[in-house]
């Protein structure tokens, strides 16, 4: 009896050890699953580059789209995709949506890396070319102005508004200190003024930051990739009702290629977009969603490519 007790204890210890090892292994697997998606290797990229250099744009696009389908998000990959689509758009093998796809890819690269000047410049050039092509046609689409909140946000960016809110909060705090702690009249007066100014700035910055956060969580950017995307009602019928003060020009029943839109809802084969101050629907196949640059409400957290160095 007394000889069996140590054996039983050893057995229990083994069970505990294996259980612990299993838990650790499971945790490791979970962490592995949560890890960033692997990026294409230099060999993969060299293969794609070789395809581009010999003019096999479709092969390069197919490979890059495959990485995109796998959920790999990286600004340079998006940029490369834009290069491939742009190359095909200017080759004999061009297809109808190539320029729109190129705009979507460069727009994605710019959203992922806002400081990418090369992407910004080429994006501007492509849009200028699309505009020039539209000017030659009678039935050109119309680009709606963004709504006021989005325009204000895009003016300086969400983080700048957030920083302004934080700064306002700091000024408000210091003003309160001066106002409450000082016994000198001038210091108390200055503190009071600073507190009021800080309160206004904090309220404005925090409100705009919240609006930006809300818009980011409830909408996702996309680019029109067809020559003209027809505006539709919620029932799928073509409409021209979005014409209004917020649109430029007269005709407002189509959205031209390369336009950045913001999707706020999806239903069946339609997507709802912000259109001026209102909403409209587009065929989901006419737009390409841009990979989210951060946490969003619609697309979840982006799987950033893990770059092997």
């Amino acid at each position: 009896m007394s000889a069996r007790a140590p054996q039983r204890r050893r057995g229990a210890g083994l069970v505990r050890g294996w259980t612990l090892a299993g838990v650790v292994a499971l945790a490791g697997l979970v962490e592995l699953a949560r890890a960033d998606a692997p990026a294409p290797s230099p060999e993969d990229l060299a293969k794609i580059q070789a395809s581009l250099e010999r003019g096999a744009f479709s092969d390069a696009i197919a490979e890059l789209e495959l990485w995109s389908d796998r959920g790999v998000v990286h600004p340079d990959l998006s940029f490369d995709r834009g290069v491939a689509y742009l190359g095909r758009a200017e080759s004999p093998a061009k297809r109808r949506a190539d320029l729109g796809q190129a705009v979507a890819a460069f727009e994605e690269a710019l959203q992922l890396a806002p400081g990418d000047e090369e992407a910004a410049i080429i994006l501007g050039r492509i849009r200028a070319e699309l505009d020039a092509g539209r000017d030659k046609r009678a039935s050109a689409g119309v680009v709606a102005r963004p709504r006021l909140s989005r325009a204000l946000l895009e003016l300086v960016g969400e983080d700048v508004w957030a920083g302004l809110g934080a700064l306002g909060s700091l000024v408000l705090s210091l003003g309160l200190v001066a106002r409450l702690a000082s016994s000198q009249h001038r210091a108390r007066l200055g503190g009071g003024i600073a507190a009021v100014v800080g309160l206004v700035v904090a309220a404005l910055g925090a409100t705009m930051a919240y609006v930006g956060h809300h818009l980011r969580m409830t909408t996702s950017p996309a680019v029109v990739i067809v020559e003209q995307a027809r505006l539709q009602g919620a029932d799928g019928r073509p409409i021209a009702a979005a014409r209004g003060a917020s649109t430029l020009g007269e005709s407002a029943d189509r959205v031209p290629e390369g336009t950045l839109v913001h999707i706020s809802a999806t239903r069946g084969g339609l997507v709802q977009i912000e259109w001026g101050d209102g909403e409209a629907w587009l065929d989901a196949r006419d737009v390409r969603r841009i990979a989210p640059s951060a946490t969003t409400g619609s697309g979840g957290t982006a799987r950033t490519a893990r770059v092997e160095r």
Binding site: P42, L45, A46, I48, L52, R54, G55, A56, S58, D59, A62, E63, E65, L66, D69, R70, P75, D76, L77, F79, D80, G82, V83, L86, A89, E90, S91, P92, A93, L112, P114, I121, I122, E129, E158, A162, G163, A166, S169, L172, S173, L176, L199, A209, G212, H213, R230, G236, R237, G269, D283, D286, S293, A294, T295, A302, T304, A305, V307, R309
Partner: protein, 665 residues
């Protein structure tokens, strides 16, 4: 002048006008001959143009259904029309065109006219409802584009079916209806009456076991719907088969059947009605039943999810079914659901665009040797099972230009499986001289039978492109005319720079805490400081208050009581009383005559009874100070004073009115 008589002068006038009349007659004759010649030649001259005709397979379809659009372009000229194009509004999936050549000989006028041309066919699949204008369709003829008239197509929403079906217009009694398996036409009821009791019923083939349901949901007639699989991937064929079962003999389909809705599927009808289907017989519970397949539809899911196939509503026509005309005995199937998923992401080849099935790819290249700037013809043929693929991946490379292919279809159905052949005819323009490896045509596809991806490919081999004789000055036709192209402004990034995903301040909770916490902390800190100061002031005031003095004096009195010094007890008790009075009423009682004290205290708000007790206690203190030193009496005084002081102190402190103080002063 008499009537009927021609006088001389008249004759002379007529003689003068005769040559004029002959000239007019000759003119008329010449005109007639010219017109005859014009008429004889007119048809040829008229047909020197190209004749275009655009037609639809159906004027009305439902969403998800396909309709064939056909363009006939005929020309009497040697040059045949080519390059057909069709303008299709959004809301359709377009397949094609499939182009075939035609020759037509006709006698028109006095001449035989030979026309040649093309027939281009597109397959349009409606994706949303509405009334659409299809076209115009155009062809290229003698360097110009010629245009055909447009046609209207009505697309009904999912759930509605086109009103016009050929079988719906069919009379109830169709002499060619194969529901009468013995070809007796309108006498089928009587015939079946004979069959029921006779032996000819037995001549019908026995129903396969899987066709006989486990139980009959109805004693007269019912419909039984099957699908071959409940789980499928997007693009995989799901076959819906519907059998009509009847126990009262032969029946026909009543007009106005409501077809199954399938908004999330592309449909290919394999069996439109039961008229050409075998009729089976089986027995159940002593009843003789017949069963016939009335519908079979190959459905191709368009999206992932739990997709619904709507019911079929069908009318049984027959005397024993209670209706020989009209809607018949109505029966319907139940909705069927199919779980559809996307093909797996694992192993997905590059360039996969959703083709599902099992196909083989073959191709021919002609010619193999061409001059620079010339074209070779690549004819590829895809054959197999599944929905015919829409496009092949062509091997692009610099110096080759693949034009849009001409597509020709030959859809076939084998054992209820849709398949067939699709031919892609490419023209490839070769601009760079040399021996060029054309690469391989590819078709990535997912085979649901094996659950794996496969890439069907065919290597095209080499082509020799001869340098042009006048090479000097002949540049690349694809070279830009002016300025760099946009694609030359950007370079492929062959290495990925380290990248951190953007993180916004507002995604972090501390940011929102900071906004409120900083000023809130300042306000809270100063509030606490002020509160502390106020508490300290209150405590100090309380330490110096008359109530505290009264309590201390009472303590002194008890100490004096313990020490046995009645005078000290009396003195301390008086102090306690005066302090208590001042705390409670603000009246400095030492300065008030004892006789006026009760009235003064009442005037200050003290109850009369308590004022009287105060005065009595003061009198007792005086008596104790100057009278006999009785400890029991001293204790009684102290206890009495203690109780009075407690009552006084319990009252809210009251400051003496300044006016009263001044008046007193």
């Amino acid at each position: 002048m008499k009537p009927g008589c021609v006088c001389r002068s008249e004759r002379r006038r007529l003689a003068r006008s005769a040559p004029v009349a002959r000239g007019a007659k000759a003119l008329r004759l010449a005109s007639v001959l010219w017109l005859a010649a014009l008429v004889a030649l007119w048809p040829r001259a008229g047909r020197a143009d190209v004749e275009l005709s655009l037609s639809l397979g159906a004027r009305e379809v439902a969403v998800g259904e396909s309709v064939q659009v056909r363009l006939d372009a005929m020309s009497a000229d040697d040059e045949s029309p080519s390059d057909p194009e069709l303008v299709v509004p959004s809301g359709f999936e377009v397949r094609g065109p499939s182009v075939g050549t035609r020759q037509q000989v006709s006698i028109s006028g006095f001449s035989m006219v030979t026309q040649s041309g093309i027939t281009a066919t597109w397959l349009l699949t409606a994706t949303r409802p509405g009334l659409f204008t299809i076209g115009p369709a155009t062809v290229l003829w003698k360097g110009q584009r010629r245009q055909a008239e447009t046609v209207q197509l009505s697309v009904l929403p999912p759930g509605q079916q086109p009103r016009v079906r050929s079988r719906s217009r069919r009379p109830a009694l169709d002499p060619f209806d194969a529901f009468d398996p013995f070809g007796r036409g309108s006498g089928f009821d009587d015939l079946f009456d004979r069959l029921r009791g006779g032996s000819r019923f037995e001549q019908l083939p026995a129903a396969p076991r899987d066709l006989v349901p486990e139980r009959a949901p109805d004693t007269l007639a019912f419909l039984d719907a099957h699908i071959d699989t409940r789980r499928a991937v997007v693009g995989q064929q799901v076959t819906l088969s519907i059998y009509a079962h009847g126990s009262q003999g032969l029946f026909q389909e009543a007009p106005g059947a409501r077809e199954p809705t399938h908004p999330d599927f592309l449909a290919h009808r394999l069996v439109e009605d039961g008229s050409r289907q075998p009729v089976y017989q089986y027995s159940r519970g002593g009843e003789r039943w017949i069963a016939v397949k009335v519908r079979e539809i190959a459905l191709f899911p368009l999206r992932a999810g739990r997709l619904e196939i709507g019911p079929l509503e069908f009318g049984f026509l027959g005397r024993r079914y209670g209706a020989r005309s009209g809607d018949g005995l109505r029966r319907s199937t139940r909705p069927i659901f199919v779980d559809v998923s996307e093909p797996p992401k694992e192993g997905r080849p590059a360039g996969y665009t959703g083709e599902v099935g099992d196909f083989e790819l073959r191709a021919t290249v002609e010619p193999r040797t061409i001059p620079a700037g010339g074209s070779i013809a690549v004819s590829a043929r895809v054959k197999g099972r599944g929905r015919l693929p829409g496009a092949l991946i062509v091997p692009e490379q610099a110096g080759t230009e693949w034009l849009e292919p001409t597509v020709r279809d030959d859809v076939s159905v084998e054992n209820s499986v849709v398949g067939g052949t699709r031919s892609f005819s490419y023209l490839v323009r070769m601009t760079q001289p040399g021996t060029i490896d054309l690469g391989a045509l590819r078709l990535p596809l997912f085979d649901p039978a094996t659950g794996r991806y496969r890439v069907a490919s065919f290597a095209l081999g080499n082509a020799t492109v001869e340098a042009p004789a006048t090479a000097a000055g002949a540049g690349d036709p694809a070279a830009p005319e002016d300025g760099p192209r946009l694609s030359e402004l950007v370079r492929f990034r062959a290495a990925l720079a380290p990248h951190e995903p953007a993180r916004f301040w507002t995604d972090r909770a501390p940011y929102w805490w900071w906004l409120g916490l900083a000023p809130g902390t300042v306000l809270a800190a100063f509030g606490l400081l002020r509160l502390g100061a106020r508490v300290r002031r209150g405590l100090a005031a309380r330490a110096d208050s008359q109530a505290t003095h009264a309590a201390r004096a009472l303590g002194d009195a008890r100490q004096a009581l313990a020490a046995g010094t009645p005078a000290a007890v009396a003195s301390a008790s008086e102090r306690a009383l005066y302090s208590g009075i001042e705390w409670s009423t603000g009246v400095k009682a030492r300065a008030v005559l004892r006789a006026d004290l009760a009235r003064e205290l009442s005037g200050a708000g003290l109850p009369d009874e308590l004022a009287a007790r105060v005065v009595a206690a003061l009198e007792a203190c005086s008596a104790l100070r100057f009278g006999h030193a009785d400890p029991a009496r001293a204790r009684a005084v102290v206890d009495d004073v203690d109780a009075i002081v407690k009552q006084l102190v319990r009252r809210a402190p009251r400051a003496r009115p300044r006016a009263a103080e001044e008046a007193r002063a």
